[in-house]
C-alpha cells in the first residue's frame, strides 16, 4: 500500500482536502478568462491575469506568489533572485524580478508612449485641462477609503484605480500596497473594459441633450483659436522632451512612469532614424512585458490574499473612483461653460479620465446619437490623452506622500 500512498501524495488531492479555498479561486480565474475571451474585456491583460490566477491556485504546483515578508531577511536585506527561484519557483522569480522591482509598468509605458500620438492634444491644447479635472475620483475615493478604515497606503492604491490607467495603477500599488496588487489590477482593467457602460451611465445622470449636442467644430469656427502649427513634426519631437523635464521639477516621483512614456513617444516621433527602437518598444518588449505582467499579477491572487473583505472594497471603490472621475471631468466642463462664450461639449470632460482610446470612441458614439454630424472624437482624444499624464502625476503625488 506504500506505493498507493506515494501515488496519492504525488497528487494534489490531499492539499485540496486540507484547504479547498483554491477551488473558489479557480472559479475566479475562470470568470476572468470568460470576461477576457467571451466578453472581450481587455483580453490582452485579463486573459493572462485569469490564467495566472488559475496557475497560482493549482494546489501543489508552486506557482502562487508568496508574501513579500518571506523574501525579507530584516535589516534591509532580501533573498537574492536566484534563491527566490530556487526556493519558490519560476513564477516568484518572474514576479520578484520584474514586478516587485517596479520594472514592468514603466517598460509597458514606454511601449504605450511609442503608440501614443500627442497630435490631437497639441491641436486642442486647452482641452488638456479636463484631463486634470477627471482625476477627481482618485482623491475622493482616497478620502472615502481612509474613512472606512483602509490604511492610507491601501487607500492610495485603491484610489489610483480612478486614474483608469493599468500600468499607473500597478506601479503605484507595487510601491504602496503590493499585497493588493491582484485585485487592484483586475479592478483597473475590468473597469477600463467597462468604460462603454460607465461613461454613458454618468453622462445620462448629469448631462442635458442640449449640452451633448454642442458642436465643437462650429464653436471653433465661431471662436477660432489663435495659431496653426506650421511644423507639426518638430513640435511633436520637442514636446515630450520639454514636458518631461518640466513635470519632473514639480512631481519627480512621476518620472519612472512619465519619463519612459515620453521616451517611447520621442523615439516614435523622431521617425525613420529610430524606427527600430520604437518598433521594439511597442512590439516585442511591450508584448513580452504584458505576458509576464499579466501572469504574475494574476499569480498574486492566492486564496489567502483574495478572499478578504478588502477585495470587495476594492471592487466597489474602484467603480466609484471611475464614476467620480468621469463626473469630475463633466462637472468642470459645465463650470467652464458658465464663464466662457466658447462652449465645450461635456463629453470632452467625461473622457479626461483616460482609458485611451476607448473612452473617446464611446463619447463620440454618444455625441453621434444626438446629432449624426457631431464628430467629437478628435476633441475627446485631447482630454483623453492628457488624462494619462494627469493620472501619472496623481500617482506621483500619492507616492510622494504615502510611499
Amino acid at each position: 500500500m506504500d506505493i498507493l500512498r506515494k501515488l496519492y501524495d504525488m497528487t494534489a488531492f490531499s492539499n485540496l482536502i486540507d484547504n479547498p479555498a483554491p477551488l473558489l479561486m479557480l472559479a475566479v480565474g475562470a470568470v476572468l478568462l470568460y470576461l477576457g475571451i467571451k466578453k472581450q474585456y481587455e483580453p490582452l491583460l485579463l486573459i493572462p491575469i485569469g490564467f495566472g490566477v488559475i496557475l497560482a491556485n493549482l494546489p501543489g504546483a508552486g506557482m502562487g506568489i508568496v508574501p513579500g515578508d518571506l523574501i525579507e531577511l530584516g535589516d534591509h536585506k532580501y533573498m537574492n533572485l536566484f534563491e527566490i527561484a530556487h526556493e519558490y519557483g519560476i513564477m516568484n522569480y518572474l514576479y520578484y524580478s520584474l514586478i516587485k522591482t517596479g520594472l514592468l509598468p514603466p517598460i509597458i509605458f514606454m511601449g504605450v508612449g511609442a503608440l501614443t500620438d500627442f497630435g490631437p492634444m497639441l491641436r486642442n491644447l486647452k482641452l488638456s485641462l479636463f484631463g486634470a479635472a477627471a482625476q477627481l475620483g482618485i482623491f475622493t475615493i482616497l478620502l472615502i477609503a481612509i474613512a472606512v478604515g483602509f490604511t492610507p497606503n491601501e487607500a492610495g492604491s485603491l484610489a489610483i484605480i480612478g486614474g483608469a490607467d493599468g500600468p499607473t495603477a500597478i506601479y503605484t500599488t507595487i510601491i504602496l500596497a503590493p499585497h493588493l496588487l491582484g485585485p487592484i489590477a483586475i479592478a483597473a482593467y475590468s473597469y477600463m473594459a467597462l468604460v462603454p457602460v460607465i461613461i454613458p451611465f454618468v453622462v445620462k445622470l448629469t448631462c442635458s441633450k442640449k449640452e451633448l449636442m454642442i458642436n465643437m467644430k462650429e464653436q471653433d469656427k465661431l471662436y477660432p483659436s489663435k495659431h496653426e502649427i506650421k511644423n507639426l513634426k518638430a513640435v511633436k519631437i520637442a514636446f515630450p522632451i520639454v514636458l518631461g523635464i518640466v513635470i519632473a521639477f514639480f512631481v519627480p516621483s512621476s518620472v519612472p512612469l512619465l519619463g519612459m512614456l515620453l521616451f517611447g513617444n520621442l523615439v516614435k516621433e523622431v521617425g525613420a532614424n529610430t524606427f527600430r527602437l520604437a518598433d521594439a518598444a511597442s512590439g516585442p518588449i511591450m508584448n513580452a512585458a504584458t505576458i509576464f505582467l499579466g501572469l504574475t499579477v494574476g499569480a498574486t491572487m492566492t486564496s489567502e490574499v483574495f478572499l478578504d473583505f478588502k477585495t470587495l472594497g476594492i471592487i466597489v471603490g474602484g467603480f466609484f473612483a471611475f464614476a467620480i472621475s468621469v463626473f469630475g471631468g463633466i462637472f468642470f466642463v459645465k463650470a467652464y461653460n458658465v464663464f466662457s462664450k466658447k462652449k465645450i461639449n461635456p463629453l470632452i470632460g467625461a473622457t479626461g479620465l483616460s482609458a485611451v482610446p476607448m473612452a473617446s470612441r464611446v463619447a463620440n458614439e454618444i455625441a453621434l446619437k444626438y446629432d449624426t454630424k457631431n464628430h467629437v472624437l478628435q476633441y475627446c482624444m485631447a482630454s483623453n490623452i492628457s488624462g494619462v499624464i494627469g493620472s501619472a502625476v496623481a500617482a506621483g503625488v500619492l507616492i510622494s506622500f504615502l510611499g
Binding site: 482623491f139 492610507p152 513634426k233 494627469g390
Partner: protein, 87 residues
C-alpha cells in the same frame, strides 16, 4: 484615523492642485513650443538622411515588388529575400 483623514483631505487639495498645475503647464509648454517652432523652424525638416540600421525599412513596396520579381526570375524561384537593406 483622524490624522489619516486629515492627510486624505490634504491630499485631495494638494493632488487636484498639482494635477491642474501640471496640465496647465502642459498647455503653456505646448503653446510655447508651437510658437517657438512656428517662428524659428516654420518649415518641415528636410527628409532625413537614412540612418544606418534602419535602412531595412525604407525600400518602397513598389521597388520591393520589382526586386522580388527580379530575384524570382534570376533564381528560378529558388531564392528568397529575407531582408533588403540599403547599402
Amino acid at each position: 484615523m483622524s490624522d489619516n483623514f486629515e492627510l486624505a483631505l490634504q491630499l485631495l487639495g494638494i493632488g487636484m492642485a498639482t494635477v491642474f498645475t501640471i496640465l496647465f503647464l502642459v498647455i503653456l509648454i505646448g503653446d510655447g513650443i508651437i510658437k517657438f517652432v512656428n517662428r524659428f523652424l516654420p518649415e518641415a525638416q528636410k527628409p532625413v538622411k537614412q540612418a544606418r540600421a534602419t535602412s531595412s525599412a525604407v525600400i518602397s513596396s513598389s521597388k520591393m515588388a520589382a526586386i522580388v520579381s527580379a530575384v524570382q526570375i534570376v533564381t528560378n524561384g529558388k531564392g528568397r529575400i529575407t531582408s533588403i537593406e540599403k547599402q
